[in-house]
Symmetry: C2
Subunit: 692 residues, 2 copies
């Protein structure tokens, strides 16, 4: 038996043994994302690039969950873990099927380049909806669960997760290939790095992907600072460049002269796998003395170690996952559950829930009403069944449903010959012929997304402002003028100011394949909404710091002031009226009482925020714990929530983290403790002073 | 009271009276498709351009029926009339609603530029699916009913239909703006003109649209020959140019030097309305002496006469058609009925209908399986509910349905980084995990359509050959290799050779919004298919005459020989076994007996073909009558079908039509009387000799 086949040895020992059988050139080839076969080991060609952000992506049919920002809005550690378990089971089933047919193409492997745990620093960032929002604690908690769900607890990794984009990466998309993000040591430690640290230390994430941008002068894929952090945290997996990011070193960052220098710089820093083509020059770099055979060997061992951990040299406990699990009813039920839990009710004057019996005709209007794109966001799989908002209402409501597109998503007319606003007359007629309007507006991945996506036409994927496209603003205004009751349903992955009066406003994010069914369940009161904003909704982008400014000052609920806040982080209404009382803290554990004062059962999210009073403490308060609860009508219950030691830590200007404060205020509520959320919420926060 | 408001006068008297109040310049402005307001008459601006080929098109939500070629496949005069009645009711409802809001934009008027009654002369023509197929008799019968349905029988026209594109027009799309179609007098009279004649004489079609191409040297929008035919037939409506066709006179046909000359040439020939902008030069043409005020006045009267016939100066019986009729359940039920009747079963080894009970898992595979585009063809409205093939099967089948895209519609891979055939492994896995494959292949309007449509990427809208795109050929081949039973569902608007063995082949055309429900009803035997091919399906385009050759020799079932025929015109199986016997003819009436020899109730289409034996007679035989029938299991019934005198006419080489023959053979059957259909059909034809 070859040593690399000896399952009694550790993966790294086996990887070393296999690597030792390869020539340096063969080892270098294994650092390509599209790695060639290693016939002597029976390993076929392997393409490292696969995606699974909210369902196996780009690989055909899969269960499609809400976009990541929606999963974050659910504030539900258990849900996101189950979601990731399903994603990895479907990825394994697909892998089993395609391997059987000798197809090892892109998007068919076991190395999923998810989750995206960047901090959604600025609401204009087009890729913000791929993240878990603006809060490092929430991002870390959800990211850890997601990674655990993907990787499983078996002998082998079920799939290998990848924490990306390390680090700081958050726009602008248009200049990501040459941009130098300047972040202070304090902001790094306090905001940009905690989630990566948690995923490495707690979740043992198998992969880390470097970002396109530079960080304080160093390209993220070859940053001594960032690589040092990984070592400090005990990272034990593979490091991959973002796609064609190493090419940026010489082509756009201009920090090297040649592809060989770029390849060498990345490899020596610790970037094992090159998504891109720059490592094709590795043997040239070797010849020029820019790298050593040992450099290549080191990364090759790490690459093969991951593949051995995935069981690619062995039989695994996952080899029998059948094809039939893909998009099975059980999986799709979780997608529906996630869509229910992610929906955030931002406004409700009592119109919701609608009575099926008392409503005659509903007009479902808007460019996102019957849009499949608005369900799936980006980095998505293909559902075997979409239920659009319109379809969901139609299926759930016995009366007449009238549909009008109302406006185009972004363009002001159908084509050159038509007048601007060519769909408005129909929308107004539809509204006038109905009892209530459900206006489905928002964005999709063609308006907020990633630079270079062919579909993405708008500011290279970023948003210019926080308003709806003008075509949709005009639509809402015209609809409001009809005087009909209007429920606005927003599908978007970021802070949007609809800037129009309405009776209710429900943010569905990009809710996944069953988004329309989830909407109908909520609209008609079969399910109470319970999601919470994982990002601050601002009034106006112009009052935010410059998009290129990576200081956290004035950004996110922890550092901003209220003037520009439209809806605060953590905000979201239910159909119930749940209050928190009797807060106490003892030795890492918070106790409180939650009481449903209403006749309506609901889930809700208890949020714990802490505030310190030292000079270096965060100016506002920080999330330090949360728990999703379900209460029957008038039920009251005592609950406990653990908060981590780190909640009491202060980060000084040098980026050093330690407990320096003595006095803290702890807040518990189903909202943030600030003025605005008090005003908007029907419930109150409770607070307690803690003296360490 | 102004004379033009005097409803006791005829429309033409009123139009003359109104016209007389306008300056010559104002009259000239009324010849624009986007005519300005006539404030003194209370007439708002009016845009003549609207479409209603198979549902009100491009104007937002509407009931979307099968594409015209599918409506033709139903061989159902009553159905197509009801379809058109619904289209005109919805157009009126939309007109009422938008007029109320002062919106008279494009696609919101009452002048529908439908139907397209060109002869589908060559299966490569991208716009063939807008037509009623290759047979002039069928085209005329269906076109007449469609026009009557659109225009109604009221005091006013409910909407104004438009017979287009006059005449001969049928590709190639790429050269339509400069092409000279050369057609013999015999082919004109025998094939290209009969449907136009019928629509003018029988249906009193209110509009005729000239084609882009030249016809025997004359541009169709200013052809003395064609305009003479209209006069001969007593045409009494308005003539409109195809859009920007008059611009082609100087820009592409090069038969005039300037826009003024083009405008003058068209106007003098009798083209009243200019879709385009060339008539903006009409006053310059007047100044140069190229047209007279009388020329302008004559066309202006005709234009206003149509609008008066539509009731635009009066209250009409249609003013109260409510918005709620649009896409109402009753209308959509007819769309479903039409989809049922249009489906053509081309092959069935007994696998269909599928038993719901005996089938465990169905794999629905293919790029058209979950495609909304494949339902709606082109010149389409927006459904308020699509039911894709996949959705239809899912909704109708209690067991597991597995979906795989299988291949891309046309491209061989998802994107540059993927391998060709990147969806095949998934398709094979889906197939292997199922009991039966429903493979949904074909085209959509991005692959066959109109030159200049932005979506249309393929040979300017035409097809290069009759095969599926290679990506789909490969898919079918791979699926067949799995050995699983395979039902192929074709969505396309033209002759397609799938070139792959299968257990059943069902052509759904572009079946409209409920196409998936119709498919499921047929697949599971709730409805027996009963559509018939309105075009010949050929094996190979290379054996056809040159695409640019407008001689009918070797084209369509009437002139071709069998060698290249894959499925003949008129062919289509049912789940029953219906035979025709006891044929007799007497004085214009055919009598025969139809008997259902099976246990299955079904509709079917009895077809009558006639063959003459003179030197100038059509080489094969010609459809001269048809009747859609419904028979219960084992039911037998005597039926009568009228055939027109013209069935016995012969067209000589000069294009003169007269009865010269004495002896004819009359065939009746649910198929053509040729060798091939005998072989394919389970039923036999019956024939009778007629001596006049």
């Amino acid at each position: 038996m070859k040593k690399y086949n000896d399952t009694a040895l550790s993966p790294v020992e086996r990887a070393e043994a296999l690597c030792d059988e390869l020539s340096t050139e063969q080892q270098a080839e294994q650092l390509r994302y599209d790695a060639p076969a290693i016939p002597q080991a029976g390993l076929p060609a392997y393409n490292w690039w696969n995606e699974g952000l909210h369902g196996v992506a780009r690989a055909g049919t899969a269960t499609v969950f809400p976009q990541a920002i929606g999963l974050a809005a659910a504030f539900d550690s258990d849900l996101i873990r189950r979601t990731a378990e399903i994603i990895s089971a479907e990825a394994r089933a697909k892998y089993n099927a395609s391997q059987k047919q000798g197809d090892g193409d892109i998007y068919k492997g076991l190395t999923l380049w998810s989750p995206n745990i960047n901090i959604f620093r600025d609401p204009r960032w087009g890729r913000g909806h791929e993240t878990y929002g603006e809060d490092p604690y929430l991002t870390a908690r959800l990211g850890v669960e997601f990674v655990k769900g993907l990787q499983g607890e078996g002998k082998h990794l079920r799939t290998a997760a990848c924490a990306k984009h390390f680090a700081v990466h958050s726009g602008p998309e248009a200049i990501r290939h040459e941009f130098d993000a300047k972040a202070s040591p304090k902001d790094m430690e306090e905001t940009y790095l905690p989630a990566f640290k948690a995923l490495v230390e707690e979740a043992k994430v198998e992969g880390v992907m470097g970002a396109y941008n530079r960080v304080n002068g160093e390209p993220a894929c070859a940053s001594e600072f960032l690589m040092g952090k990984l070592r400090e945290w005990g990272f034990d997996g593979y490091f991959v460049s973002d796609c064609w990011a190493i090419n940026d070193f010489h082509a756009h960052h201009k920090i090297t002269e040649t592809p060989e220098e770029s390849a060498a710089m990345a490899l020596k820093a610790g970037c094992d796998i090159n998504c891109g083509s720059t490592y094709l020059k590795m043997m040239d770099a070797l010849e020029k003395g820019l790298v050593t055979p040992e450099d290549i060997h080191r990364s090759c061992v790490r690459a093969l170690r991951t593949r051995i951990r995935l069981g690619q040299l062995d039989k695994t406990e996952y080899d029998d996952i059948p094809y039939s699990v893909i998009a099975c009813d059980e999986h799709k039920a979780v997608a529906l559950e996630a869509a229910h839990k992610s929906a955030v009710l931002l406004k409700n004057n009592g119109i919701l829930p609608l009575s099926r019996e008392k409503t005659g005709t509903i007009a479902v209007i808007g460019p996102n009403a019957d849009s499949r794109s608005a369900l799936i966001g980006n980095y998505n799989g293909t559902p075997d069944r979409y239920i659009t908002f319109l379809e969901g209402i139609q299926d759930s409501f016995g009366g007449r449903v009238i549909y009008a597109e109302g406006s185009h998503l972004f363009l002001d007319r159908s084509q050159g010959l038509a007048q601007a606003g060519d769909r408005l007359a129909e929308a107004v007629a539809a509204a006038e012929n109905s009892d209530v309007i459900i206006a489905c507006v928002g964005l999709d991945a063609t308006l907020e997304g990633e630079e270079g996506d062919t579909g993405n036409q708008f500011a290279s994927g970023d948003k210019n402002d926080l308003y709806l496209p003008l075509s949709q603003q005009l639509l809402l205004q015209k609809l409001r003028e009809t005087g009909k009751p209007m429920i606005v349903v927003l599908a978007a992955g970021s802070s949007v100011n609809i800037d129009c009066d309405c009776d209710a406003l429900l943010d569905m994010w990009y809710p996944g394949q069953y988004g329309g069914r989830a909407l109908a369940d909520i609209v008609f009161g079969d399910v109470s909404p319970s999601g919470k904003l994982p990002v601050t909704f601002y009034k106006d982008a112009d009052k935010l710091p410059d998009f290129c400014d990576y200081s956290m000052a004035g950004r996110t609920y922890r550092y901003c002031n209220d003037d520009n806040v439209l809806y605060p982080f953590g905000f979201g209404l239910t159909y119930a009226d749940i209050v928190c009382t009797d807060l106490s803290y003892n030795d890492g554990t918070v106790k409180l009482t939650v009481t449903n004062q209403s006749n309506t059962a609901s889930e809700d999210v208890v949020q714990l925020y802490i505030k310190g009073y030292g000079e270096d403490d965060i100016p506002n308060h920080s999330l330090c714990g949360f728990a999703r609860i379900r209460l029957a009508a008038h039920e009251s219950r005592d609950i406990e929530i653990a908060i981590p030691c780190s909640a009491f830590e202060t980060v000084n200007k040098c980026g050093v983290r330690s407990i320096t404060g003595k006095r803290f205020t702890l807040y518990a509520g189903i909202c943030q403790p600030d003025e605005l959320s008090q005003k908007l919420s029907r419930t109150r926060c409770v607070k307690a002073e803690i003296i360490l």
